[in-house]
Amino acid sequence: MKITQIAGFLGCGKTTFLLKLSQVLASDNERKIALVVNEIGEIPVDGKIMEESGMQVKDIGGGCICCEVASTFAKTLTQLYKSYKPDHVLVEPTGVAVPHQVKLAARMGGRDAKISLGPAIVLFDATRPAELLDMDMLGQLVTTQLKDADIIAISKVDAVEEGAIGDSAERIRKYNSKADIVNLSSFKDLGIDVLAEHIIDWKE
C-alpha cells in the first residue's frame, strides 16, 4: 500500500487534481485506490465531493493530520489496509499541513500495515505566487511546503501566461533545487499522466 500525499496551500487545486489523478491511476482496473482527505473547516466538503465520484474515501476532521490528529491518520491507514487493501492511498492534507510531518504520521500507520511512501507532491498555485510567498506568516509555511516536496506541480497553468509559469518555477527553485517540477492543469488534463507515472514508479 503506497501512501502519496498531494499537499499545497489552500485553494491551489488539490481536490480537483486528486479526483483526476485517482481516475487515471484506477483507469486500467489494475489498481485499487483509496483517498484520505483532511479538512480543518469542520465540515468535510471535499470528502463528500470525492465520495460522489465513487472512490473509497476516508474523511478526517477535527484538526490537521500533520499535528493534532496524526494518530487518527495513522489508524485510518491501518484500517484501510485491513479492510480495503488498496494499492495506492492518495492523501490530501489540509492546505496548511507540513509535508514532512504528514510523512512521519503516515509512518506511524506502518507499524500495523505494510506500507511504502510515495512522493510528496506539492502544488504551487501559478495564479498567486507573490501572494503566497510574500505573506509574512504564511510565506514561511508555503516555503516549508516547497522545501519538503519530492515533486512540485505548478497548478492552474491554463490560467496564466507562459512567462508567469517561468516566474513561478524560478521562485520555487530558490527553495527546492532537487524536486522535479511539473506543469499541471487539472481542467486541461495537463501533467496528470506524468504525475501518475511518477507515483507508480516511485521508490523510497
Binding site: 489552500l10 479538512e39 473547516g41 469542520e42 465531493i49 465520495e51 460522489e52 493534532e68
Partner: protein, 166 residues
Amino acid sequence: MDTENNTDPGCYTEHGVTGYGVAAKLSRQEAMDSAFVQAMAKEMMMFIAEKCMHSGAKCIGHIKCHIRTEGGTIKADTIGVGHGTYSTGKLDHAVKDLYIAINSIIQGIKEDAVQSATLDGLHEVAEGRGVAVVKEKEHSYFDEFDFVASKQEYIKQLEKQLSEDE
C-alpha cells in the same frame, strides 16, 4: 469518523489561520433552478470573502460550499476577492429545498470574525434572494452522511442531523 484528538495546537493556528463551518437548509416557495442556485452560491462566496477582508483578513485560504438537493449537487468556491468565484454542478430540475454546507478558511482574523462573515453571507445573500434559512447548524451535517442512499433517504438523514440538539 474517528475523532480522537490530542491537545497540541494545530500547525495552522501557528500561522494565524482559522476555519469555520456551517450547514443549513434553505427553502423558497418558488422552485430554484441551476442558474439561480449557482448565482446565489457564488454571491455568498464573494460576500464572505469581502467581509473577511474588510474585517482585517490578510488572505483568503479558501471559502467553499457544497449544495445538495433532490435535483443534484452544486459547488462553489473562491480563493480571494481578486480571484473571483468558481462553480460546478447542475440540477436536473428546479427545487424548493436545498442543503448547503459552507467552509471558510481565512488567515489574519479570529474565528468569531470568520463565523460572523460566514453567517452574514449565508443569511443576507439567501434572504436577499427571497430564500429562507429554515435550519442551520455548526460543525455537523455531512459527518455521517451516506451518499449511496436514495434521494428520499438522504433527505431524512439530513433532516435528522439538522434537528439534533434542537
